[in-house]
Symmetry: C2
Subunit: 353 residues, 2 copies
């Protein structure tokens, strides 16, 4: 079944209002969350609304956070999310990065005391309208085993980089530092299909193609999987350090779980989970029109490369942008299970889907 963006927007905004978010925050959180549905990252969109509500019910989300800078230099800041929705804290912290970039060329903001922020790409893209390169990362609940580890110590820790172009659509890379996102695993579980080698390991660390491996004490594998997970491990580690060791959030196994039925560790090493944002004015390096003309050339060169029979070379961000255009027109399809969840949340607050 398919829902228009506006319909989902009105519903989601009303739910965020119902848990006590001020109007502006509810609007912002909705825009952030639904950017995932528009762009086809269904696992991170409105399907997670129930999850946020449950965290609020468990007292683990502050609907009226006072998000503010606690430490800064001309090009850096630490932002305290005050336990708010990452969906709200993220864009506010990104604004700080953009303002600093306006002043001194670049701005870099590490965030503590936040929560899951939706898709990294949304935050990075906020820089584009300012002719800036945007960077966004976040740590996340520990589901990933570093190379050779049996313990799960890292999240899927995504990295997003958005680069403005001229006449071409912008370049938007957004990638988990694991071989496969957890959402893809859940799909395989539902369909009772095996997963490719390199996605997961069993509880004893052996290679696995079992979609239920993570549920059964195994772990997701860092990017590179079977042929060199040490690189994905290193990238995921950098995301964890930039997001949490710099800011004073929880890192590694101390990152609080997204699901409300799992309790956060009782011995936290910081506050909430952490993000890291960056903004770089392109004209802090060369005139913006010159930069954009070369980005256009970069993009068309790669897009026009000779491709494998029946395939084409894509620019990072192409599939998500095309999906967003389609879904704005045709609506956003939701799985029955998701609709049922949303209806349940709606009933709780007297909001109709």
């Amino acid at each position: 079944m398919t829902f228009s963006y506006n319909q989902l927007f009105t519903f989601t905004e009303a739910v965020f209002r119902s848990i006590g978010c001020p109007e502006d925050d509810a609007t912002l959180a909705t825009e952030t969350l639904l950017s995932a549905d528009l762009r086809g990252i269904d696992s991170h969109g409105v399907a997670r609304l129930v999850g946020y509500v449950r965290l609020w019910e468990a007292g683990r989300i502050n609907p009226t956070p006072r998000v503010g800078v606690t430490y800064e230099t001309p090009s850096t800041a630490v932002v305290d999310g005050d336990g708010g929705l990452g969906l709200v804290v993220g864009p506010k912290a990104m604004r700080v990065a953009i303002e600093k970039a306006r002043q001194v060329g670049t701005g870099w903001v590490s965030v503590k005391n936040s929560n899951h922020f939706g898709i990294a790409g949304y935050h990075a893209m906020l820089a584009l309208a300012h002719d800036m390169i945007g960077v966004a990362m976040t740590n996340a609940s520990p589901l990933v085993a570093p190379t050779h580890s049996l313990d799960r110590l890292l999240g899927t820790n995504p990295i997003a980089v958005a680069v403005p172009a001229g006449e071409q659509p912008d370049f938007v890379a957004d990638l988990a530092t694991t071989t496969a996102a957890n959402g893809k695993l859940e799909i395989a579980q539902r369909k009772q299909l095996p997963v490719p080698e390199g996605w997961v390991q069993n509880a004893d660390g052996s290679a696995s193609t079992d979609a239920n491996a993570v549920k059964n004490g195994g772990a997701l594998l860092p990017l590179g999987g079977a042929t060199g997970s040490h690189k994905g491990y290193a990238l995921g580690a950098v995301v964890d350090i930039f997001s949490a060791v710099l800011s004073g959030a929880n890192y590694g196994p101390w990152v609080p779980p997204f699901v409300a039925f799992l309790q956060p560790p009782t011995d936290p090493v910081g506050q909430g989970l952490g993000h890291f944002f960056g903004a770089m004015r392109v004209d802090a390096f060369r005139p913006a029109d010159e930069f954009k003309a070369h980005m256009d050339n970069w993009i068309t060169t790669f897009r026009n490369a000779h491709a494998i029979e029946g395939r084409k070379v894509l620019i990072p961000g192409d599939p998500e942008r095309e999906m967003a255009a389609v879904r704005l027109l045709d609506g956003i399809p939701l799985l029955d299970a998701v609709i049922k969840d949303l209806e349940g949340v709606g009933q709780k607050f007297g909001v109709k889907l």
Copy 2:
């Protein structure tokens, strides 16, 4: 056969002096180059000295570059390498980044008109002594096919991030954005062994385990290889854009080849090849001792994780640091072919190995 670090240092320095490098530059280039041999990245060390000499003979390296800032803001700069050795241009550009970080918290430097700079990790590590996080990347000769591409449009484009710790050794991630570095392929070629799936593709884009595939018109694959090369492609693309589109260097297929027998493209889109450097003062985010105490906790937590039978969980940088300690004491082993090359270079300039 094994050579002491000092012996190789004296020899290499004399060779760089012989091609016209001023004394300080020759020393700096030698230190940069040999950091690869010490750390066990044999493909990027003294084995490449002949390659640099050949580029100089072909008139493609300026031994007396005037390396300088051509564009800047308080937190950014573009550095023109003036066609010099990347081994010299890199550390000089990194100094600019460090100086800017001292002033405004972070410094970000994009470099044009440079050449191959050795290992990325060396440059990133220059920040450590200043209690800064160091970042280094570079683009490189196009040997890598983006996902679905038959054309080789990217280099192995490494990313290095060095993070200072307190009592623990520093964290140093240094990774090519390909599944395997070209050096590993060369080793398999020499031993006439197949390579794992996901390293390379054939000229028609089909999966291959042939170590000679790249030589025969195929390509290296981005990190993720068989199970999702789009992520490595996106990362390699970001490195290319930060290193060259920001600075005005050549990008994508226009990056000049390292080997002197291949001519650079006759229609350059910029100058030389490009690098990107960053330095972030950790005390631009929180007090340095607090940061380092948490890095120590991060490192010991990961190092002490339960590991797969017979393995241990390593911290990025562990193997290279341990190798450097061994090789400083026991010397650096060189292959016969490398020794012969070096003796040839030595004879040319009247320098004894």
